[in-house]
């Protein structure tokens, strides 16, 4: 065994990159859940975002155009979920699961002729001499633009939920939709907007995998990242900064698997591939086991259908 082969700085940097898809999807789902909607279709949103981003990037020759397409596609798919659950009062759990299955199937169909193609590369901002700084250069200034965007997004979501009036209204809708309705807040409109935001973020997370992380299109390229994102929202007790922490943790576990293989630790690869999912399950058990606190943080109307009573 040679742990020396693992450079801790490289490890942290790659860990952050590995965390990105889950981070985008989870921060979107966090906003959705804060508004009281449980969308289990994150995996479907991600894979649709991945395939449409990939196709548009290849056809247009621009990875950035591809990203915009993925945001749009994710939001469009989420809108289907929003219309079904908010206007037709379909069951959120069943609809979310159906969304995932639909997304996986549709993406396989759309992506058929794109397997094996290399997408256009994504721009990296040039920090000039900063990137050559020892330690900090590698740690802070050599990422793709989306990593910096994710930082802005997390801070924006944190500020929005905690300090803006619209964010307060969104939390109110998720906390007690009947009370929010009786005070004159538009429950359904708020939730649709949150669902659209969640879809856009999920799509972006998926595109990150297919365009930057892998970068390639294969069937089921998201490989369950959407489920991890869902678990992460609970794991973080619906707090944006904890989502970042959790995403890095999961990113790290995914990476360790690769690094272990690189340094030649003899573990069956199947066990290592299981690791992120096992950690997810353990995290969920640990959270729900501590009962009171988690229950306190969960939006009270989460997953409950809303019907305006006259």
């Amino acid at each position: 065994m040679d742990f020396g082969a693992i450079n801790p700085l490289t490890l942290i940097a790659t860990m952050i990159v590995a965390a990105m898809p889950v981070l985008f999807a989870a921060i979107g789902e966090l906003v959705v859940e804060k508004s009281g909607v449980l969308n289990l279709g994150v995996e479907g949103l991600m894979i649709i975002g991945a395939v449409s981003g990939f196709i548009v990037a290849v056809e247009s020759g621009s990875a950035v155009t591809g990203l915009f397409a993925s945001v749009f596609a994710g939001a469009a798919l989420a809108l289907i979920f929003g219309i079904l659950t908010q206007f037709f009062h379909s069951n959120q759990v069943a609809t979310g699961l159906a969304l995932t299955l639909f997304g996986l199937g549709l993406s396989a169909l759309l992506g058929q002729s794109y397997a094996g193609i290399k997408p256009p590369s994504f721009p990296y901002p040039d920090f000039g001499p900063l990137a050559d700084l020892p330690v900090l250069g590698l740690l802070l200034f050599r990422y793709d633009a989306l990593v910096y965007f994710s930082a802005v997004l997390v801070v924006a979501v944190w500020w929005f939920l905690g300090y803006s009036r619209a964010g307060l209204a969104l939390r109110a809708v998720g906390e007690n939709h009947d009370a929010a309705h009786s005070l004159g807040y538009k429950v359904v409109r708020t939730r649709i907007l949150a669902i659209l935001f969640g879809g856009a973020c999920g799509g972006l997370g998926g595109a990150y995998i297919a365009l930057i992380r892998v970068p390639q299109w294969t069937d089921g390229v998201t490989a369950g990242a959407g489920w991890i994102a869902l678990a992460l929202v609970v794991f973080s007790s619906w707090r944006p900064f904890r989502v970042v922490l959790g995403a890095c943790l999961f990113g790290g576990v995914t990476l360790l698997q690769l690094n272990f293989q690189a340094v030649g630790i003899e573990i069956n690869a199947a066990y290592l591939s299981m690791a992120p999912y096992l950690v997810t399950i353990l995290a969920l058990v640990a959270i729900s086991g501590s009962g009171r606190r988690a229950a306190l943080d969960a939006p009270d109307s989460l997953g409950k259908p809303f019907r305006a009573s006259a």
Binding site: R165, L168, A169, A180, S182, L183, G184, Y185, D300
Partner: protein
């Protein structure tokens, strides 16, 4: 009309199958407290929702200060100076007082300024509140303060209050009335919805009475007796429950000692060392403000929760025994929530009857459900308690609150348990059905059963109990003979005094 501050003319509103408001005329002057009352389903809620912009009428017009008034949303209503305090508070448990108040305002000031305003308004009207506390941690009375201050911060000209006192102690009611009188003196008009007739007589200047969506009477409530008002409301006379004069109490039947239980929900209250004893023929009333452990006590007695301590029925230890085992031994319970707790909303009355009566009425001999026996049991409940429904095949959800409550209580009574625990037996039930239910409980006691009634309605408890104890913060006060205790003493116990000695000290 000078001074006619608010007027509604010929307001009609229909929902599928119901005419909720039928050509309602109604008016209010500035600086008056106007009572609006009627039974459940009489159209009160629909009318006030119309005034507050939550519902739009099919027909009719309204005027405010002589101008046309037809709010499309609560925001528009608030902009015209109309605010409302809801019966089921429109509060958010996980948020702070300041956040809750900001949510009810259209242009909330910055946080620091808002906290200052909350403190100032609170001081002016005697409603102290800390802006940073989490609403879920507050008592019910404090929550109502949050609602009221939220309204007051918008300088309302018309304040609508929907059943504001149903969850308050008598002392809290006095404080509330003082606040309301102060507001009226400052020129605010108050629309006061209640079914507590004594309160209306004490507080209100005029009253409008609704029945079946129509205005059936307008009067000065101070000139009528509570009985006359009740008969106007129900549209016929009915008798108050009568306790048999010769009621005798037999041997000790149900005895709890040192029952303790952690809270069932995050914001609930656990039980600490609850002890009481009930004799055959005795009705023990358990008073207390909501959220002081009532739900937990009901669950500990029924067997839904495993409490520590001891609970004996006729000397037999019930701890460790489940719900059905307790039923077999003779202790039955009817929980508070009609739809979803004591009855499964989408199941028929026959199925609902089977669910609790299977054990005592032997409705599933050999593990096979005897549906014809279940149906005839459901029919006998419907017959004995005058439950109005299309038949035993009706879904529980389809029944009105009063009828379903008669069914779930009657279902337990007809199983002739030796002891019965009921939680809020007449909550949200019309006056006539409530009197049927109370009479049935008294009759059952007379036949030698031990009865525990958990209720927040002090008048109800004083009417039917032989002994009374108060639940506060999960602790039960000493058990007092109902004839030896006054409403004020009970109120102080509900507010947290430890026992009668402390009450006496407080009075001194």
């Amino acid at each position: 009309m000078t001074g006619m501050f608010f007027r509604a003319q010929e307001i009609s509103k229909s929902f599928p199958g119901v005419k909720a408001n039928d050509r309602v005329d109604f008016e209010m002057a500035t600086g008056e407290i106007h009572a609006l009352f009627g039974e459940n389903g009489s159209g009160k809620s629909t009318l006030v929702k119309t005034i507050y912009g939550l519902a739009q009428p099919d027909e009719g017009r309204m005027w405010l200060r002589g101008e046309d008034y037809m709010p499309r949303s609560p925001q528009q209503a608030r902009a015209k100076g109309v605010t409302m305090v809801f019966q089921h508070f429109s509060l958010f448990d996980a948020m702070s007082v300041a956040e809750n108040i900001a949510l009810g305002m259209d242009q909330p000031p910055p946080r620091a300024r808002l906290s200052e305003m909350i403190a100032n308004t609170g001081e002016r009207y005697g409603l102290p509140l800390s802006p940073d506390s989490r609403v879920g941690d507050l008592s019910v009375g404090e929550r109502q303060r949050v609602e009221i201050i939220r309204c007051l911060l918008q300088d309302p000209d018309l304040l609508i209050m929907d059943e504001p006192t149903s969850v308050l102690t008598p002392q809290e009611v006095d404080t509330l009335f003082a606040t309301l009188r102060q507001l009226v003196a400052e020129g605010t008009a108050i629309l006061y919805i209640s079914h507590k007739l004594e309160e209306i007589r004490e507080l209100c200047d005029r009253a409008t009475i609704l029945r079946g969506g129509r205005v059936v009477a307008k009067c000065d409530p101070k000139e009528k007796s509570a009985r006359e008002l009740a008969e106007l409301m129900v549209g016929r006379s009915f008798s108050a429950p009568a306790r048999a004069a010769s009621a005798t109490e037999g041997e000790l039947l149900l005895e709890a000692s040192g029952l303790s239980l952690p809270p069932v929900s995050v914001f609930g209250t656990g039980l600490t060392g609850v002890s009481f004893s009930v004799r055959a023929g005795e009705v023990l009333g358990i008073a207390g403000v909501a959220g002081n452990g009532q739900e937990e006590l009901a669950a500990a007695l029924s067997g839904e929760s495993r409490a520590s301590g001891s609970l004996r029925l006729d000397g037999v230890e019930l701890q460790g025994k489940g719900i059905n085992e307790r039923r077999r031994l003779g202790l039955s319970a009817a929980p508070e929530e009609r739809l979803g707790h004591s009855a499964a909303p989408d199941m028929s009355l026959t199925e609902n009857a089977y669910l609790t009566a299977a054990v005592r009425m032997r409705l599933s001999p050999g593990g096979i459900v005897d549906w014809s026996a279940a149906r005839s049991f459901a029919e006998s409940v419907m017959h004995s308690f005058d439950v109005r429904a299309a038949g035993p095949f009706s879904a529980a959800r389809a029944l009105s609150g009063g009828n379903l409550q008669k069914f779930v209580i009657g279902r337990e009574i007809l199983q002739t348990p030796r002891a019965l625990v009921v939680n809020q037996p007449t909550w949200g039930v019309d006056a006539a059905a409530a009197s049927v239910i109370r009479q049935a409980l008294l009759d059952m006691a007379e036949d030698g059963a031990a009865i525990v009634v958990i209720s927040q309605d002090l008048d109800e408890l004083i009417e039917i109990s032989s002994t009374i104890a108060v639940l506060n913060g999960g602790r039960l006060s000493e058990q007092l003979r109902v004839e030896n205790v006054t409403r004020d003493e009970l109120g102080l116990l509900m507010g947290g005094a430890k026992g009668l000695r402390e009450v006496a000290d407080a009075a001194a």
